[in-house]
Symmetry: C2
Subunit: 468 residues, 2 copies
Amino acid sequence: MARVLTPRAEDFPRWYQDLIAKAKLADNGPVRGTMVIRPAGYAIWERMQAEMDARIKAAGAENAYFPLFIPESYLKREAEHVEGFSPELAVVTHGGGKQLAEPVVVRPTSETVIGEFMAKWIDSYRDLPLLLNQWANVVRWELRPRIFLRTSEFLWQEGHTAHATREDARAYARRILHEAYEDLMVNVLGIPVVVGLKTARERFAGATATYTCEGMMGDGKALQLGTSHELGQNFAKAFDISYSSAEGGREHAWTTSWGTSTRMLGGLIMAHGDDNGLRVPPKLAPVQAYVMIVKDGEGVGEAATKLCDALRDAGVRVALDDRTDTAFGRRAVDAELRGYPVRVELGPRDLAAGNAVVVRRTDGSKAPVPVADVVGAVLAALEADQQALHDQALAFRQSRTVEVGTLAEAIEAAATGWAKVPWSEVGVQGEAEANGQGVTVRCLLRADGSVPDSEDEPDLVAILARAY
Amino acid sequence: MARVLTPRAEDFPRWYQDLIAKAKLADNGPVRGTMVIRPAGYAIWERMQAEMDARIKAAGAENAYFPLFIPESYLKREAEHVEGFSPELAVVTHGGGKQLAEPVVVRPTSETVIGEFMAKWIDSYRDLPLLLNQWANVVRWELRPRIFLRTSEFLWQEGHTAHATREDARAYARRILHEAYEDLMVNVLGIPVVVGLKTARERFAGATATYTCEGMMGDGKALQLGTSHELGQNFAKAFDISYSSAEGGREHAWTTSWGTSTRMLGGLIMAHGDDNGLRVPPKLAPVQAYVMIVKDGEGVGEAATKLCDALRDAGVRVALDDRTDTAFGRRAVDAELRGYPVRVELGPRDLAAGNAVVVRRTDGSKAPVPVADVVGAVLAALEADQQALHDQALAFRQSRTVEVGTLAEAIEAAATGWAKVPWSEVGVQGEAEANGQGVTVRCLLRADGSVPDSEDEPDLVAILARAY
């Protein structure tokens, strides 16, 4: 097969851009840093949304929608929040042909405007917990945009909840972290994320604790794929989100927020892509089986249609490629690029022998299969390859992760992968030193791999890496 | 039952606002003209989206996503388009702390930016038709905002397609009009819309033909619920969307666009709501059966849980209200407000007699039903009431529509409903005169009720009405 992409080993960022362009996943938008998500990319995003939405609803949150435009004054009410987001704001100064009395910002995130409404809607402890989520676009002006990873506008879900106690808020922030985010990433996206606590330096602006899911990309760098925050009473105090308790007093609520975005598309590409293109895990794939007519011939079209129906009846998401006026080789290259988990190729010659050819994207294997057995073969391949992609990514992460004893060794190891080092060897000063060399503390873990409550716990392990 | 809303007959606009507030469907946002869609309202929107999305996909269009920000220069390329939208634009002048070299507008609609990309993606006739749709927020600065009906930001789907010929474009604009829009509105929303052609004066800015679905609201006014446009070659020429034909020449494409929005929520409220609140057609309702525990008692909770499971197994969307610490009367009023199609009330006394009480929102009927028969009774009610709501709305529309012979009579009739009048009696000048008195031509129809190709066809009928 001819080389269609810059090989990953030669130039990983170039490979990433090539793949996005050639698989028609996205384009750069006309305003710097914005993107156009093309149908092939958007279909994957829709599947991510559906899977995430189901998990968020299972955790009891309800969807709502809050305005894109936020009064500038709202941002200023929480000191750390405004400091964190001010440099990235897009500001609307004119509306309906007139200069606005107060400029409005395009939401970079919605803690402030949602805080304002939580304050209106919450009266008593009976109104808690209040569990909200929204699917929306947000804008953060990017100086060094990279498609899907850092774009001036991106799509995401942002959850916002209010609770009566700190313990409830913490439990919910962690429930979303594990039951929605980690579960989706590991079991649907096939990315074996490490889940941990961010350091104070890496915390969300206005949070008291930020939890994160970190994935290793194909070049050994880290990508933050989703975060969940305890906001303490910071926003509750800034927006007066309070409730009358069962005992009759008035208390400030404890809030959380949590988000995942179209950045997951970038993570998917970089975690599973190879030199031939994307590889989409079967559970996520909008098209799981791509049935291709190799060449027209007696009964081929009919056999393909029957096969598609049989696969659909078995619950498989199917597409038929009958564009025999385009060269088969070109279509096959395109199918590889797009990462359909299984291809089923039907041509007159194979069919005469009663066979179709089943091609698995994960390992590139090709095998003739009797037509009557194709459905079973496809189902088996989909199940096996969901696991195989995960396991490959896990093995890769393990091979590129080293345990070291000092900060200097950790920074060195971060040149090619992740370093695990005692947090006590790093600390706030070591973290700043690492940052100066392009290495960040991705998260902190307990020795047993579980998620700590605070960076002050003893015996924590820090993961250091370069990151997107 | 105590009066909770201003009666419709007393003050219809006030009733509308009351209902939205008390059923917790939405709130006004902090920036003038924006809105917050609360969970009860958003859940209905999600069902509308799912039903619409399925129809759009069935018509072959694929979802994509284009940027929120559009260079100001793009808008200016199509003369009528910029003239139509300029007064409503929100303009971003600052991004990332700096003044922008070129201001960007927040999309009021996306013909221009999508046109730019269609031009890049379309090369040959093989690339046509190109059928795209996006779910997005758009901004049109509103001087007289009204929640759901005219808001400065709203949510919608906007379809954009490119075709090789005018005939193909027209056929597709009409396919969406009938198969997606009319079908959804009539068969899911239960609103018997009239489908027709807009006059030149009411056409979308930049279109050569605009088709519309018009519904009658509970006060006899009209609401435009969805439009589909033929854009001719206007945008194709402005953005150079062209293709090489099978014969080898280079031709401009023919484009369409079409949209429906959160305005449908306003239409739903005003078409079916009554003095007790919303009435949601069963096919659309996020909660179809609302199972209420009237009072705690021996076996009541268990019976309610079993009943919910049985309803769910029968494919019914169910919610359980076991908040027995809140007065039953208050919860019942709330259930009426929210418009759940069927309530099933379970209390110790009824249950002792083996019964539950089934209450239908559509006609307010209440009947004891043996517990074993509840599932069947609910299914029958859901089916009957979907039709009943539609038929009530149709009967109302017919009772408020008169056929008249002159413009003066039509304007008079529009005080209380719709007037059908020969278009030849109105014409461009009569239309301006009607507009001066707050009456608009909603659409033009052929004598047989079908949709004309042009306002120049003979014997057309105009529908005149006041409108939202």
